[in-house]
């Protein structure tokens, strides 16, 4: 068969190009995610921190188990009581630092694109836009789930001898401890989704990180002080409904104090905020000029 020259009016392409699809958008976002050194570093450091904090807390519990004074001090601390003093508490302790890394990483996957102009290339390739946002969401959430699960697995293994000697082994027959372990993964994955939505709404890196640090770190500290210093009911409610204060209840194995929500209720509050933010982010993502 002889090839006929393409007529000038209708060039025929030899390049195989398939219709743009969600799977395509997903592959694109996965390539983007893993091709930045900063992402790779953040993920590694997050995992290391999770394991490091687990080791530190396990050693502390081990020391406390032989020193009655220290044990008494720990068990009378209201914060630790709410968290619960089990092996799982030690293993999951790194979540409070991991959440910062996860939040920043998730927000950056969106705000980076706006600050570099990459967003215009992204929208040109996926002009319906929403598949690109959901693809980012899937990549960030799945990456968080995988990394945090692995980090927790390693943390359980390396702390096992220490926690055994402390008499506080991670007990997988205890429903609360299993819920806390799974909850740790769930909480951080939800923080990732929440932060991605904040990034998509604010579009600026500095603004998004400021907002997330304020929500997840500064406000909880301020309200903890306000709540312990006064008995204002509104402050107690604002405090227990803060995204991190509500959400992290799912990682606790202790007794829920009256000032905080039950574990699943708390997580439900965080999930509710996250869904609302994602819907708002989706609307803005579609509508705004790029």
């Amino acid at each position: 068969m002889t090839a006929t020259a393409a007529s000038p009016a209708a060039p025929t392409s030899q390049v195989p190009v398939r219709p743009v699809s969600f799977v395509g958008a997903l592959r694109a976002e996965w390539i983007k995610f893993r091709s930045l050194r900063s992402t790779v570093w953040t993920v590694l450091i997050t995992a290391l921190l999770m394991v490091g904090f687990a080791l530190m807390m396990a050693s502390l519990l081990n020391t406390a188990s032989t020193e009655p004074e220290m044990q008494e001090g720990m068990s009378s601390d209201p914060g630790l009581q709410a968290l619960g003093l089990t092996g799982t508490t030690a293993v999951t302790l790194g979540y409070s630092f991991a959440q910062l890394a996860v939040a920043v990483l998730a927000a950056l996957t969106v705000t980076n694109e706006y600050s570099t102009g990459m967003i215009r290339a992204t929208f040109s390739a996926v002009p319906h836009r929403l598949p690109a946002l959901w693809a980012k969401l899937v990549v960030v959430v799945v990456a968080t789930v995988v990394v945090i699960s692995l980090a927790l697995g390693v943390a359980v293994l390396v702390t096992m001898p220490i926690l055994d000697s402390a008499g506080l082994p991670v007990d997988l027959s205890d429903a609360d401890q299993v819920r806390a372990l799974v909850g740790c993964v769930l909480y951080l994955a939800t923080v990732a989704a929440f932060s991605l939505a904040v990034g998509a709404l604010l579009r600026h890196t500095a603004g998004a990180i400021f907002t997330l640090v304020a929500l997840f770190f500064v406000l909880p500290i301020i309200f903890q002080i306000v709540v312990s210093a006064s008995d204002a009911v509104w402050a107690e409610w604002v405090n227990k409904l803060l995204p991190s204060v509500a959400g992290e209840r799912i990682i606790s194995t202790g007794v829920t104090p009256p000032t905080l929500l039950e574990p699943w209720v708390g997580y439900g509050v965080l999930a509710g905020y996250t869904v609302a933010l994602l819907v708002a982010a989706g609307v803005a993502w579609r509508r705004r000029d790029a």
């Binding site: 190009v17 219709p19 743009v20 694109a28 570099t116 040109s124 996926v126 319906h128």
Partner: protein
């Protein structure tokens, strides 16, 4: 084929694109010429669906850009240099864009070769020069082998060799039957690359014509006249509706009429002419006279 009908875009109280209608046809290079801030980039973003028009419609190959099943096979766009994350390598950047349309890696390597980026493809974009950034943008535009190319100031930052390369590429793509729409704020650039030209100023289309016609118009515009009686002739020409200015060497610059008409008028009224020369003004002059009222930012006259 790009078709805009009554296209407008307002940012706050500024009308960036003002009721613009035009058609960019396949098979030729169409230049999009205008001073900075005239609305070129905004118009191109509207074509790509990146900005929503305040009014009007624009289609590419018969449909709004977003309604195509394979957008990258319809339109390739270079909208601004380095719309790329600096921490990513050139190849990864292209692979990510290609992945959306399941375009194979072989095509990614092809456009890397085509744009001369082979040696730096695995380097991070942050270290790229402006020219290399432009080449990467063009590589991205070519990924889907699109029928229409939109290139916003493609020669910006390129060295002379790169400028020639872009010119040849644009001409070759048009010769293959593609639509090539290329913006520039330099008349000379458009004259050397484009066949057709749209001139835009303050968001309005000022001219939609072939480059040859624009050149003719420019050439026909002024006539140099020398006469022993300049004042009287100037008076007569003005009565006939021409614009006359005295030039420094004692001659007259006449606009708004043709050389033949001036000769007839001089003969009829008994003037002696020492010179009667149609002056082809430069392209830049033609462009400046078209856009002089439509320049966003005038420099102060230096005297």
């Amino acid at each position: 084929m790009i078709e805009a009908r009554g296209l407008s875009k307002r940012y706050g109280d500024k009308l960036a694109v003002d009721d613009v209608s035009f058609t960019v046809r396949p098979g030729v290079v169409t230049g999009f010429l205008g001073p900075n801030g005239a609305g070129k980039s905004t118009t191109m973003r509207l074509v790509m669906g990146l900005d929503r028009p305040t009014a009007g419609t624009v289609t590419v190959n018969g449909r709004p850009y977003a309604d195509h099943a394979r957008p990258l096979a319809e339109v390739g766009a270079l909208l601004e240099a380095k719309a790329v994350h600096p921490g990513r390598t050139a190849r990864r950047h292209l692979q990510a864009l290609a992945a959306t349309h399941a375009i194979p890696d072989s095509r990614v390597d092809e456009v890397i070769d085509l744009t001369g980026l082979t040696d730096v493809a695995r380097k991070r974009v942050g270290g790229f020069s402006l020219g290399m950034g432009q080449r990467l943008g063009i590589a991205a535009a070519l990924l889907g082998d699109p029928r229409t190319l939109i290139l916003d100031e493609p020669v910006n930052g390129l060295d002379p060799e790169g400028v020639l390369w872009v010119r040849h590429l644009a001409r070759r793509l048009a010769a293959e039957g593609r639509t090539v729409f290329l913006s520039s704020h330099l008349m000379s650039e458009v004259a050397q690359t484009a066949d057709h030209v749209l001139v835009i100023g303050r968001g309005r289309i000022l001219a939609d014509t072939s480059v040859a016609e624009l050149l003719d118009d420019a050439a026909r515009r002024r006539v140099r006249v020398r006469t022993p009686q300049p004042t009287a002739l100037a008076e007569a020409l003005r009565r006939a509706g021409a614009q006359v200015t005295a030039s420094e060497d004692g001659g007259l610059d006449v606009a708004g009429t043709e050389a033949a008409r001036i000769g007839e008028l001089a003969a009829a009224e008994g003037f002696v002419l020492h010179e009667l020369t149609p002056v082809s003004s430069t392209l830049e002059d033609a462009y400046l006279s078209l856009t002089s009222d439509a320049v966003e930012y005038h420099a102060e006259e230096v005297s």
